[in-house]
């Protein structure tokens, strides 16, 4: 029984981490994507380790240009 609870708790802990990361990486409010994927190591109830990798597809560097309402320079 204790083992089942441990598994349930670890699953919930993992989901909570995913939710926090998803919130922290909201696409429309976040600044330019990070330069590299972030990796978190999560330890399961059975002692087995898993990596949670946050991937930013196609966005591994600085942006090439910015779009905005144009200002006036003349």
């Amino acid at each position: 029984m204790q083992r089942i609870w441990a598994v349930v708790l670890s699953v919930w802990a993992m989901l909570a981490i995913v939710a926090v990361l998803a919130w922290a990486n909201r696409p429309v409010t976040s600044p330019a994507p990070a330069a590299a994927a972030q990796t978190l190591v999560v330890k399961g109830a059975n002692g087995k380790q898993q990596q949670l990798v946050v991937v930013q597809p196609g966005a591994v560097g600085a942006t090439h240009a910015t779009t905005s309402t144009s200002g006036v320079v003349r």
């Binding site: 087995k48 990596q51 990798v53 942006t63 090439h64 779009t67 309402t69 144009s70 006036v72 003349r74």
Partner: protein
Amino acid sequence: MSARLERSTFRAVGTNCAAAVTAGPHDARRASAALAAAQAEVAACERALSRFDAASDLSRLNAAGGAWTAVDRRLVEALRLALRAREDTGGLFDPTVLPALTAAGYDRSFEQLAERPARRAVGWRAGASVELDETAGRARLEPGAAVDLGGIGKGYAAVRALAAMREAWPLLPGGLVDLGGDLALWGETPERSHWRIAVADPRRPGTTAGVLLLRSGGVATSGRDVRRFGPGRSLHHLIDPATGEPARPGPLAVTVVAPDAAEAEAHATALAISAPAPAAAHVAGRPGISALYIPRDGEPIPLGSPPLAQARFVVRAA
């Protein structure tokens, strides 16, 4: 050595401009020719399309009092695109708003505007007639009408400048033209990936509301965050064709992604004078475009499916 981005910056069409190409280690001369071709084409477009230059083809057409006027082919093409955009946006974008715009006080280049109260143009109506003779390279406006190509002219110039780069360098791997935030782009980046376009967040200057990932097409942004004029800088620089007055509804800024920059500009102008619900309906009815609508209050609203960079998660064994 790997590919890199060769870039040039310059001032034109009343704003900061840039052109960039993906170039290999032995492409310096070709890259330089392509960038020069882009800048020359933008200058040629400005000579044809600017309403602030009394000698431009557009100024001559506006002053012709309804007579047929021989003009540069760029102006004929830009007018054709503008008339198509007027139809496609249901009149929300209208190139013939100039009399209403000047009556409202936007009668000279933006930095010279006086803080005088807005007036409504007497007798002005939207949808004035514009006739084109593409074979002879001439155009005619309805008497009393006048055209402002403003934003769509910038988008058109960006498209032409990108085409000029590809003509100057036929094997160009990829390139981008940025005319004050109106972007035309095509091909590969030096990383052989998508072009990454930051959308400036007008609520927090210096920050980004999202990053667009694009292989080709056009991007344009319009809004009320920068260009305001009149008493207390309270007036929108866009005229609502439905009222003939500076627009009242609309977001702080809206960014549109479309197959080309001129089309993106026309729809950005249309959405910039639209409340959120009509803006969503506008985009839903046009599968070729998508947008990021940043309202005055609340969070940015993606309309359609703008190609925004999004995080995803992968779980794997350690």
